[in-house]
């Protein structure tokens, strides 16, 4: 399906990452924003609100982040593509409803503009400390998709992708950006509406009286209907059967929850997206995502200039993690270098998937700004000279 012209501001614009995210949402057909203001995500809401009357989108500023995501889930069941935007502390508050979204299989998008945590941290400084939280932050078993844009253009593109994944697999999708990309102003090309693919909602089309809200297709994704159509369906956060009725014994738990993880795990090959350069002959592969990949790409160029065979694996989707690709590369490369703006999160996944075949170097974020390359460069140099040690993650000071 093509995008609705109404929401697409085609042309070339200079936009901040946050503004591009709002434009991406409107282009993807998002017509409801539930929000609660938190630095550094506010510009997304501001842009969305400014454009909402022209586009015909609705919004509400709720009393907290808990209710913001609750409202988004409610709105999604009316047939509107819905979104909320937040930052670390807000994301923590949204954790319960992330689980509800998973259990009700409600498509929605959460944009998390990461600042430094934990607690209040440094709200205006960029970090990537919520990456594992997006995967594991709500109680119980679930799988979602998380994307990590590294530029305003990607904020636009990945926001559309996020809505498409959420509709395709009926899940909450997280856009894991950060304060750096959010504020960065760059040229964003917004294509004409007929060049933007948007995933339509997977509606049920059979007879009204035989609708089962959680009857799964072969890909484990059930079909949805809007409220107010006379289906009079029931959905619940309790463990439920195809009818959506709560049944609380272990067979039903297996019947209900295992497919929730299968629908993502078994489609992982279709969902996972990475951008690779020169990985095939590389001695060292730099695995990066989001803002860090901006610095990583620069460092890689410098390292190549000094003669090191280094490739780049940039994660577009952080979750699901490109397990197979990392395992493949581990067999060829000598080492991975993983720069992150945290104390070690995605690097653990890299370590897990190397199976002892390559060293893993972790470069935590220093004090010198996001796009500082020196630490990454020296890690690449060290990695290219170290033999396989199988000793877990080697962290660089």
């Amino acid at each position: 399906m093509k995008a609705d012209k109404n929401g697409v501001l085609s042309g070339s614009h200079v936009l901040s990452g946050n503004q591009a995210c709002a434009e991406g949402a409107l282009a993807a057909g998002c017509r409801f924003l539930g929000l609660y203001p938190i630095v550094p995500s506010i510009e997304i809401s501001e842009r969305f609100l400014e454009r909402a009357p022209q586009v015909g989108a609705t919004f509400i500023q709720m009393e907290d982040e808990v209710s913001a995501l609750a409202a988004v889930l409610g709105a999604s069941w009316t047939g509107k593509k819905s979104m909320t935007v937040t930052s670390g502390p807000g994301l923590s508050l949204m954790m319960e409803h992330l689980g509800l979204g998973v259990m009700l299989e409600t498509p929605c998008v959460i944009a998390d503009i990461q600042g430094v945590g934990p607690g209040l941290g440094l709200p205006t400084h960029p970090a990537q400390g919520d990456m594992m939280q997006a995967r594991w932050g709500s109680h119980g078993d679930y799988e979602i998709v998380a994307l990590a844009p590294s530029s305003p253009q990607e904020m636009f593109d990945y926001t559309i992708k996020a809505f498409n994944f959420s509709e395709r697999y009926r899940i909450p999708v997280a856009i894991m950006s950060d304060a750096h990309v959010a504020r960065l102003k760059e040229t964003v090309l917004i294509p004409p509406a007929d060049q933007i693919n948007v995933e339509p909602r997977r509606y049920y089309e059979g007879a009204k009286d035989s609708y089962l809200p959680f009857k799964r297709d072969k890909d484990f994704v059930p079909r949805m209907v809007d409220i107010g159509q006379g289906y009079r369906f029931h959905v619940t956060g309790l463990t439920h059967d195809d009818r959506g009725y709560p049944i609380m014994f272990e067979e039903c738990q297996e019947y209900n929850v295992h497919p929730l993880v299968w629908k993502i795990r078994q489609a992982a090959d279709k969902i996972v997206e990475v951008q690779e350069t020169d990985t095939d002959e590389a001695d060292v592969v730099v695995v990066s995502y989001g803002a860090t990949s901006r610095a990583a790409l620069k460092a890689i160029k410098q390292a190549r200039d000094s003669g090191i065979k280094v490739g780049s694996l940039k994660l577009v989707t952080v979750w699901p993690f490109p397990e197979k690709r990392v395992a493949e590369l581990a067999k060829r490369a000598r080492a991975f270098v993983v720069p992150e703006m945290n104390c070690g999160q995605v690097v653990l996944e890299v370590e897990r998937n190397t199976y002892g075949e390559a060293n893993v170097f972790f470069v935590p974020h220093g004090d010198n700004g996001v796009e500082h390359t020196e630490d990454i460069l020296s890690a690449i140099k060290q990695a290219s000279q170290t033999n396989v040690a199988k000793s877990g993650i080697i962290e660089l000071a």
Binding site: S92, P118, G119, G129, S138, Y142, T239, M248, E251
Partner: protein, 413 residues
């Protein structure tokens, strides 16, 4: 330091895990409990409500879980030992303040009686699917300690240990129990007070004008003070310097947040507690925690009867994770078998630490029940027969899964 005899309900009891944990908290000197009713953890809170006033402990039922955890962080800064009690959905709501507590280096204990999830799930039945959440559930970087007791007696003992670790490392400590252990009634022996070691708060005793609330000791843990002692504390969840003042300087970010993580990572060998049995010459090692480790005993027994050399490794502390020991064992054993009541959580860390030296088999269970020991035994057998090195997790197909998805099974009310 020994426990205060007034706090200890010495005797032999026949109580459930929830109640035992409540009594453990009182014995450890906990003087403030804030909670919000949530099945299946309510009995622990009720136990404190009944017994608390007799030993001078205050309790309050807050308006929600957000309020409960905020209240105990506040109470901790008034100088008392504190605890809150919850289950899955409440735990999700507490995530923001867990990070806040970690940032403030506030000692407190959180008892999570896990149930079937996600969302409301199966409130009355068991699960172990919050275990990764206990490590990663709040935003930003932090490290904390999580314990997984497997019997009412351990619920008592490890609640005391949780308080001791919280005071020693000034960090939130999670007791990641589950509905089975919480509602399991067994004999619990509460010893005399002089048989219970309790860790006192690491209070600052020097002159008021020299006090720096976040100046670390050699073990990276700073001394604490309490409100009302005339130190005029300034405590904030923003990144702060040693005085506690917020700083907009990224140098402090890497220095300060890093210490929060390092104070646990570098002390991990003092924190980690494992129970190993027959691991040294085992072909297969069963890694388990909480209720699953009790079920695993039977599975291991069945496998041993078939002549398989099986060792068991029980994670008493799940976090910090015993990376080094796991890597060491991976070099010796052929495979790890990990039964847990979720669709794969701690098994990822086992696989990570195996570094490709041993295969890793997950025996999953969605919750609302425990494993069938025969599944664990079969998984052990499968693991020992596998000669090849397998990349990726091997997910064992349980009898439950087969019966639900392959046996023409129909759900009935």
């Amino acid at each position: 330091m020994k426990a205060n005899p007034k706090d200890v309900l010495t005797g032999i009891y026949y109580i459930d895990g929830d109640v035992a944990s409540g009594y453990g908290a009182l014995a450890a000197g906990c003087k403030f409990v804030a909670g919000y009713p949530i099945t299946p953890s309510t009995e622990a809170f009720e136990a404190v409500c009944r017994r608390g006033p007799q030993v001078g402990a205050v309790f309050i039922q807050m308006e929600d879980e957000l309020g409960s955890i905020s209240a105990i962080v506040g109470a901790a800064w008034s100088g008392v030992k504190t605890m809150t009690i919850t289950s899955g959905p409440g735990y999700s709501l507490m995530q923001e303040c867990i990070g806040f507590g970690a940032m403030l280096e506030t000692p407190f204990v959180l008892l999570n009686i896990q149930r079937g999830g996600p969302s409301t799930g199966v409130p009355t039945k068991t699960g172990q699917a919050d275990i990764m959440q206990s490590r990663w559930g709040s935003h930003g970087d932090y490290e904390l300690i999580a314990l997984a007791p497997d019997s009412p007696q351990e619920m008592f003992d490890y609640t005391i240990k949780a308080f001791n670790l919280a005071e020693k490392y000034r960090c939130p400590v999670m007791i990641m129990s589950d509905e089975c252990v919480g509602h399991m009634t067994e004999k619990v022996v509460i010893p005399e007070a002089d048989g219970i070691e309790v860790e006192p708060r690491r209070l600052y005793t020097g002159p008021a004008e020299d006090y720096l609330p976040f100046k670390p000791e050699p073990d990276l843990v700073p001394k604490m003070a309490k409100a009302g002692d005339g130190l005029r504390l300034y405590i904030t969840g923003l990144v702060h310097d040693e005085r506690g003042y917020p700083v907009e300087d990224s140098a402090y970010k890497s220095k300060y947040v890093r210490r929060l993580v390092d104070k646990i990572r570098l002390n991990r060998n003092n924190i980690i507690e494992l129970r190993e049995e027959g691991t040294d010459d085992a072909d297969v090692i069963v890694v388990s925690y909480g209720i699953s480790s009790r079920v695993a005993v039977k599975g291991v027994e069945i496998a041993r009867e078939k002549g398989i050399k099986v060792g068991t490794l029980r994670l008493v502390t799940v976090w910090p994770f015993p990376d080094d020991r796991m890597s060491e064992l991976a070099k010796k054993a052929r495979a790890f078998v990990v039964p847990e009541i979720n669709y794969g959580q701690v098994v990822y860390d086992v696989a990570r630490c195996a570094h490709g030296d041993a295969n890793v088999v997950l025996v999953p269970h969605g919750g609302a029940g425990v494993h069938n020991p025969n599944d664990i035994a079969d998984a052990i057998e499968m693991a020992v027969r596998e000669e090849k090195k397998i990349e990726g997790l091997v997910e064992f197909k349980t009898r439950l899964q087969k019966s639900v998805f392959e046996g023409g099974f129909k759900l009935k009310e």
